[in-house]
Symmetry: D2
Subunit: 159 residues, 4 copies
């Protein structure tokens, strides 16, 4: 019995979701920031976060690094959604508007280019009414070091 | 009595340090990540951080967004060291090497270009022996919204 | 008699095309490279070029700067298609594949973000079968110097 | 007889210069734009160009793509100065000031990071009095296609 195209698509989605879930499970940083994994498909991922008091910078608005981290997590889940382990090689971000404390922001990653060696992903960070807050473009490359699962917390952990 | 060049330099350094200290005092995000402000001079700032367990991503290495945040904080303190309030307009980062949990990393920001309207700052993120881990380039623009000091924690704070 | 939406759209297209034509008429660089203006709509422009022998670099493939120039021209025409004069503030490009001499390449610019102060435009450079060759992202800002039309060639012209 | 450090340095400089000269000899694009190779050392190259009438855009100033091309040539010569053939993988540029027709501009490339797989190079484009006009950052990767020397002009050449 042959697999129908719909099943293939559905299988690819299931694998993408499973890959994102597995990566998220070891991603202490995304968890600590309250980043939620909303949706994952091959090459495409959506995450969300609420700007907490401990994410605000000296100007009283969300720290640009935290917005970058949200986008970077969406990018990481998206570029690892196809089975080959990838790491970020670099990225750029344009900030459009200040994001206040308490705002709920989403980051949607889409695949712009992809080969077995690497890829380019575009991420839009948006506010509650869909207004764009930042544009992020990430480049990934095949993971050259052996992937290390997150370690159990040792006694001398810096945290 | 005229002010000697050394005094002028010394005054500029004191003002730069005071500006960085004031910005840091309201920067809950940098504080929550354990970012330390090591040195601040006009246009030039050095910060440091230790990679904690809650900064690690699904590959078991420091989340790229957290390294970006460290560099972004150095950039923010540096571009606000001259009296005019500036916010990040955009930035790019190149990741050179994976950074393990427990590593102590520093970020050193220097001023590449500066006018009253904006500037370009370069930040090198380095490991304990000075080996470069990431290169960051940030662009800032004059703050157009009124700067808001960090607010006291309200009862309905998302955190 | 009221103007129907189609007429408004059609008017905006005519103005965008006229703005692009006017800019192109003074753009000696685009003309010298044989860049053709194929299509112009508000925020969206398509140009094309054939890689000549005098566009090849020391590796025998199209010079990256020439591909950038093609994309940059599409970006310039697109960000000046709405009436307010804009200049490029910065740009980034990712090269995906080498482009041989003789290849016909197109560059399609689309508007990602736009305010009266500036904007972000994405340009895809593609080959004859539509395969992507490079991705370009440009940022523009309102022109602060008075626009100067191209001058007639003086006797001491460096050319 | 052992080779003194000065000789080794001198040898490396000679090889860097020879590599740049060889690349320049096949670089029809740089030659057509009147780009001059002023100096080449390992990882570091300086080139210059005068802005001609056929390099001006529709605003009457030097086309940003031509300034990028100048910087990109400096980058290409610099990243190929160590023996391993490299091609540009991507680059970003910040434009600081409009450059008028007739201006003589230089581009100085320096090596920010380098491994056998790739590198990061920073290029400053400056005017006659040394004032910075643009900042360029390029990333190179090992050439994966066989390098092709520029071909002699065939009869059906698109030029």
């Amino acid at each position: 019995m042959s697999t129908a195209p719909d099943d293939a698509t559905s299988d690819a989605r299931r694998r993408a979701r499973a890959a994102a879930d597995a990566l998220y499970a070891g991603d202490s940083a995304s968890q600590a920031l309250g980043i939620e994994l909303l949706d994952a498909a091959p090459g495409s991922v959506r995450v969300a976060m609420t700007v907490r008091t401990d994410m605000v910078n000296g100007h009283g608005i969300c720290h640009g690094g935290i917005l970058f981290t949200l986008a970077d997590s969406a990018f990481a889940f998206a570029c690892n959604s196809r089975g080959e382990p990838m790491v970020a090689a670099g990225a750029s971000i344009e900030f459009l508007a200040p994001v206040p404390r308490g705002a709920r922001v989403t980051a949607t990653a889409t695949e712009t280019s992809r080969t077995s060696h690497g890829g380019i992903y575009d991420v839009v960070v948006a506010g509650e009414t869909g207004e764009p807050l930042a544009y992020f473009r990430g480049r990934c490359a095949r993971l050259r070091i052996p992937a290390q699962p997150a370690q159990p917390l040792p006694k001398d952990d810096p945290k």
